[in-house]
């Protein structure tokens, strides 16, 4: 590579450049491109051979690593074999990743080293063309466009033009209307849950019904309505869960609750006390901010913290917000004890659970 610094493509057209900016009072004149200085590899044959060996060495190593990758792929079992570990790390991922990563890294490094050390490195200069078209071209094209407009009669035939706009506008409607069946209308689904009078409050995961005596003071129970679990009826018959699969998740996202027990005297709100049973109170588990499930209960302060955005609710005072971005208190589920001594809901929530929405009021 022997070409010197020469301006190719001299383009005298200065449209768009404000050459007045380059005033004669500029303190330092442009000294021009400094002369090219050769690299050690340009002048020293030993250095050149060394660089050559370096580059080729890296390429060869990369090739070997790629081969090693293939071998290890077949030799090392996938992570499903939990015994295949290396120093506590998954052997498969580590081996494949290291060989592949190093092979790639060396390939790239070799190519770059080649460019830096051995390829011609003379800086070359290319002239910039103004991005703007020359004025005559611009005028020509503007004229051609105007001619086209005139020939089409776009400006003159306003009836055609406006009716075309009407047609195009209306064609946008089917595109929107077609999306209507993406989902059902919300109806009152955002305001109701599956809770109703008499539904047992059961421990989540195990589905065991709860007696007040099972719940110690300072206890937290993550609970769900009994409808989500298979129940053993009074006659020993198994009642299948009413909701399963995705339908269960839809309901869980609204109906999950927590039960906590504190001293009845710790509860400051008379209504809250009345809606509970001997200091056992039941609140929605769904944060009123953006809907994370909250069960971060501090048994001494009786505060409930949302781990997502740190809204904090005071469970001694109707679940009012004491900190964080949530605006609404946590809805309370009124509970009582049924004939067999288990905790049941007295009704659904008296207000919608979860994040606020426009129609909520």
């Amino acid at each position: 590579m022997t070409e010197g610094p020469h301006p190719t493509d001299g383009h005298p057209d200065g449209a768009g450049h404000d050459l007045a900016a380059l005033s004669p009072e500029e303190p330092i004149p442009n000294p021009g491109l400094p002369p090219h200085e050769p690299r050690p590899t340009d002048v020293d044959a030993a250095q050149e051979r060394r660089a050559e060996r370096q580059v080729a060495g890296m390429f060869i190593l990369a090739a070997l690593l790629a081969l090693a990758f293939c071998v290890l792929y077949f030799v090392i079992p996938p992570p499903s074999d939990q015994s295949a570990t290396f120093m506590g790390y998954g052997a498969s991922n580590l081996a494949l990743g290291l060989t592949l990563g190093l092979a790639l890294l060396l390939t790239g490094a070799a190519a770059i080293q080649w460019a830096k050390k051995l390829m011609g490195n003379q800086d070359i200069i290319e002239a910039r063309h103004s991005t703007a078209s020359p004025p005559n071209v611009r005028e020509e094209q503007v004229a051609a466009f105007k001619l086209g407009v005139a020939e089409s009669g776009f400006g003159r035939r306003t009836l055609i033009r406006n009716s075309m706009f009407a047609a195009l506008g209306m064609l946008g409607l089917p595109a929107i209307v077609l999306l209507r069946d993406l989902g059902p209308l919300p109806g009152n689904l955002t305001s109701i849950t599956v809770w109703k009078r008499g539904i047992r409050v059961v421990n989540d995961v195990s589905g065991t019904p709860l007696r007040p005596s099972d719940i110690a003071e300072g206890q937290l129970v993550n609970a769900e309505p009994a409808l989500f679990f298979d129940e053993v009826g009074p006659n020993g018959k198994v009642i299948k869960a009413k909701y399963t699969g995705t339908a269960l998740n839809d309901q869980k996202a609204k109906a999950a609750v927590i039960l906590v027990r504190m001293l009845p005297t710790d509860i400051k709100s008379a209504q809250e006390r009345a809606w509970g049973v001997n200091g056992i109170v039941c609140f929605s588990k769904i944060c009123t901010h953006v809907g994370c499930p909250i069960s971060l209960y501090e048994q001494q302060t009786h505060q409930l913290l949302c781990p997502c955005h740190q809204s904090t609710f005071d469970l001694t005072e109707d679940g009012k917000v004491v900190f964080g971005p949530a605006a609404r208190p946590l809805p309370q589920l009124p509970i009582m004890v049924d004939k067999e001594g288990y905790l049941v809901a007295r009704s659904d929530f008296h207000q919608p659970v979860g994040p606020s929405f426009w129609e909520r009021g």
Binding site: G16, N30, D81, Q82, L105, I112, P186, P307
Partner: protein, 579 residues
């Protein structure tokens, strides 16, 4: 130009007419697609060499890696929310109900050899993709590369960044693990807060109540087809404009606004950029090999009644998460309707404000400065103190929101109160940027002053001499012409005058209100800047400090420093009484 033009057009014709190149792939292709023309544009195209010009390239290459690894993952991933019971090698989840999406992600991680590696490379390169776009954008901003004629490419770049964030969030949400489900739950809460249509949008998007059974498959097609398609189109447009407008360059000897100096596309840039692709891939592969990312098997399948401490989005959503966390709990109730400012503002408005500000910035700056010229030489950030200050302020606000998004992790690892961090951030987000704006702007101006000093008085050699009278002074040496030119090659701006409110006959001039605002802003914009010395001033300074100059008249510095060594450097000695 004329000569190369002719030879280029003639070349294919001769090759085709004399039939010499039959079977030669070059002539075969040239006959059909005019290959030589493409080569003429491409082969010796000049690319300036600087590390900061390669940040966008990191983003480009990570996008390619994302396409490659993503295609691999799509061969096994099942975008379905249908529930199955897991029976597989990860026995901590045996017998657990989960969606097919989650189960197939477990399958990729544990049963497909190299599947976990590809998942991890995919996730790491997604993080790097958006990080690289962000720092690339900051480079463009601070050097003024968005100025005319590159405003359109700035806007395309913003579109890429926004879509990249959306694409990343979609990918984060697909495996249907506990963390991604929590993220979707939050997205659902934000959609729901939109006034009037919120719940309708929620039900249309999720096909009913959250989480429903269709969302993952809908999101999948957005993630693998819709957004990547748009990204690909925008990246192409971005690159075409870059090629057409040619790359900007730093000021320097031989660099002008009418040329571009650097290495040719072929072979140097091909080798360097191609090599860089492999190195980016190599780095992400090594990250995937060594650092575990998104261990979905530990999160467990999504269940709307479960949540984990440290529920966070990937880093690029962190600032929005921070906004959600520190927002005060404002909600308005009007006539039976609710407006949830506490969710709407951080969930939608903050992002809207940032991207709108970024989008209008080039036009705003052009309006204020009145600078309508083409710019191909970059600004050194110090030479644009106000822009630099604004940029630093923006970075500060973003950074504080970002930190607020990790306030729980900060609280546990630095033993600070969660509530204290939140309260601090609520104010810091507004006060911090103002402070950093002032500091950065003054800093830039100080650097200008130091540049001016260097230019006028040369640099400090560290050599102290004692005059016969006993005074000490340090020798200053003039800069090399290259560095002097680099420092001096910044623009001098003609001030935009504030137009008169009334003309000479007392008639109110039209349109002056906006012009007056602009004039004021212009003054603020360039206020306190150190004007670049003129040729005359430079001449004067050099003359003033010639050895015959009045070295001792102003007393000089009578320090007791000693022992400055020249260290074998050669320069024309000039003495100075200046510091």
């Amino acid at each position: 130009m004329a000569t190369t033009d002719e030879s280029a057009t003639r070349a294919p014709r001769t090759a085709a007419s004399n039939g010499k190149g039959k079977g030669n792939p070059v002539s075969w292709l040239d006959d059909r697609i005019g290959l030589a023309y493409q080569g003429k544009i491409l082969l010796r195209k000049v690319f300036p060499d600087h590390w900061s010009f390669m940040l966008g390239e990191i983003a480009l290459w990570s996008f390619v890696i994302l396409l490659l690894t993503g295609t691999f993952l799509s061969l096994w991933f099942v975008p379905s929310m249908s529930e199955i019971v897991y029976h597989g090698p990860y026995h901590q989840l045996n017998g657990i109900h989960m969606s097919e999406a989650y189960a197939s992600t477990l399958h990729i991680s544990f049963d497909v050899r190299g599947g976990l590696l590809m998942r991890q490379i995919h996730h790491w390169s997604a993080n790097i993709f958006i990080a690289a776009m962000t720092i690339h954008m900051l480079r463009i901003f601070f050097t003024g590369a968005f100025r005319k004629p590159r405003e359109i490419n700035w806007l395309i770049g913003l579109g890429l960044l926004m879509l990249g964030i959306l694409e990343g969030f979609a990918g984060y949400s697909l495996p249907d693990d506990l963390l991604s489900g929590t993220g979707l739950r939050i997205a659902d809460g934000i959609i729901r807060s939109i006034p009037v249509v919120g719940t309708y949008l929620e039900f249309f998007i999720f096909g009913g109540q959250f989480p429903g059974d269709v969302f993952i498959s809908r999101l999948y097609i957005v993630h693998v087809l819709l957004i990547p398609g748009i990204l690909l189109a925008l990246i192409s447009a971005h690159m075409i404009l870059l090629f057409y407008q040619k790359h900007t360059q730093w000021p320097g000897p031989g660099h002008t606004n009418e040329n571009v100096v650097g290495a040719p596309f072929f072979p140097i840039y091909t080798a360097k950029a191609g090599g860089f692709f492999f190195m980016v891939f190599g780095v992400t592969a090594l990250l995937g090999a060594v650092l575990q990312i998104n261990p979905i098997w530990m999160y467990g399948p999504y269940d709307p009644s479960q949540v984990t401490a440290g529920s966070q989005p990937d880093w690029y959503m962190g600032w929005l998460e921070g906004a959600l966390r520190i927002m005060p709990n404002w909600e308005t109730h009007i006539g039976g309707f609710t407006i949830s400012w506490n969710v709407l503002i951080p969930g939608a408005a903050v992002m809207g404000v940032l991207f709108t500000l970024l989008a209008i910035y080039p036009f705003l700056e052009r309006w204020i400065t009145g600078d309508n010229r083409d710019h191909h030489i970059l600004d050194r950030p110090r030479n644009q103190p106000t822009r630099t200050g604004l940029g630093v302020a923006g970075v500060t606000a973003y950074g504080l929101l970002w930190l607020a998004g990790g306030n729980d992790i900060i609280a546990t690892h630095f033993h600070v109160s969660l509530n204290a961090i939140t309260w601090f951030m609520r104010f810091a987000v507004f006060v911090g940027p103002v402070i950093t704006f002032i500091i950065a702007r003054r800093w830039a101006i100080s650097l200008q002053r130091s540049d001016e000093h260097l230019l006028l008085h040369g640099y400090e050699t560290g050599v102290i001499i004692r005059s016969p009278e006993g005074g000490y002074s340090e020798i200053h040496a003039p800069l090399s012409q290259e560095s002097a030119y680099q420092i001096a090659s910044r623009e001098r701006r003609p001030p935009v005058g504030v137009p008169e409110l009334e003309d000479e006959y007392g008639v109110r001039a039209r349109g002056t209100a906006a012009e007056r605002v602009r004039g004021r802003l212009h003054e603020l914009w360039f206020g306190d800047e150190i004007p670049k010395p003129t040729a005359a001033e430079l001449e004067e300074a050099h003359h003033h400090e010639s050895p015959e100059g009045p070295l001792l008249e102003d007393g000089g510095h009578h320090g007791i420093e000693s022992g400055g060594q020249i260290g074998g450097e050669e320069f024309d000695l000039e003495e100075s009484s200046e510091r």
